[in-house]
Symmetry: C2
Subunit: 197 residues, 2 copies
């Protein structure tokens, strides 16, 4: 093969999520093809992220400063707290641009199979924030999976004595969803939760 | 969103072959999760490739030296030259480990649709090598596509007056291939080229 350096780079890239050796090889060949511009550009972007990105000590978001721009923004509603599983969910909600409150990153959901216990999640900090900040509503925007629902149940049981409104996201048929393609569970749920128009 | 630096890195990675914004986001989150170890490791591997990898001036392969380790190897057969479309084909043949001759990277195949002409390919250098080196056989290991076959035809017409054996790879049913899943063209070809056992 053509040098250990190329092999090493392929091995690192092949471990990225959703990639394998074959796609890593194609990416490395793509980088090598215009390497004078592409490799320095990628190195620069990685260095920028490495030196500048911190974890927000309040909510767990990534940003150049801590507290992050969402936590420190004066235009965002400090009374509403949206609890999400991970940063990618925060990004998804921010892309939507509808939510104007703050976030709390849980860092996962409870899972008996994967051995995720309450101690592994950012739950203590969440309770503390609800006690210390003037939170009126906690939106538990966790995944609509069994583990997600168990986590919602667990967190709401911890909060039952506190004076805070607890909500979860609506479930049902997604926009544009055809009944034909929906699983039975979603159809049953959408039926049970049907609304009068 | 959480900082322009993350966005910039996502944009660069999203342009890699077979990736898009969604997979780039997952890769960047994966890198950020263990960034103390993962990002410096990736930067180091990229820098190593950037500073050490050259294009071999003889065959067009990537290596730490030019001529590359294959061209300068004394244990490889200098009389056989295998012409391939790109480096990934060279890698595929080297993984097989059966071929012990040298290579010539064409840098593509002729294509009327994509406007690839003989001048865009490494053909002049190939002819020169065949004249100057003592090449007994040229294996045109080009893709079994229309463009690949046209390129094979073009190169062999250039070489018809030279005293060199020209071969191409065998075509037919691949190992483990079930007739049921083969296209009609392959079945027809395998029938026409059938061999007595």
């Amino acid at each position: 093969m053509s040098g250990q350096y190329i092999e090493d780079l392929i091995k690192i890239i092949a471990k990225f999520p959703s990639l394998g050796t074959r796609s890593a090889r194609r990416i490395v060949l793509h980088l090598l093809k215009k390497r004078e511009t592409q490799i320095p550009q990628l190195i620069k972007a990685l260095e920028d992220v490495y030196t500048n990105i911190k974890v927000c000590e309040v909510c767990g978001n990534y940003d150049t400063e801590s507290p992050c721009s969402i936590c420190s923004s004066s235009t965002r509603d400090g009374n509403v707290l949206c609890v999400v599983e991970g940063i990618s969910d925060l990004w998804a909600l921010e892309r939507g641009g509808l939510y104007r409150g703050r976030y709390h990153i849980l860092g996962g959901v409870l899972s008996a199979i994967e051995g995720v216990t309450p101690e592994d999640l950012n739950i203590d900090k969440l309770i503390k924030r609800i006690e210390e900040e003037e939170i009126a509503e906690v939106i538990l925007a966790l995944p609509a999976t069994v583990d997600g629902q168990i986590t919602i149940h667990y967190i709401s049981s911890l909060l039952k004595d506190k004076e805070v409104k607890i909500t979860t996201l609506a479930q049902g048929i997604p926009v544009g969803g055809e009944l034909d393609y929906m699983d039975d569970g979603t159809i049953k749920l959408a039926f049970d939760l049907r609304k009068q128009i």
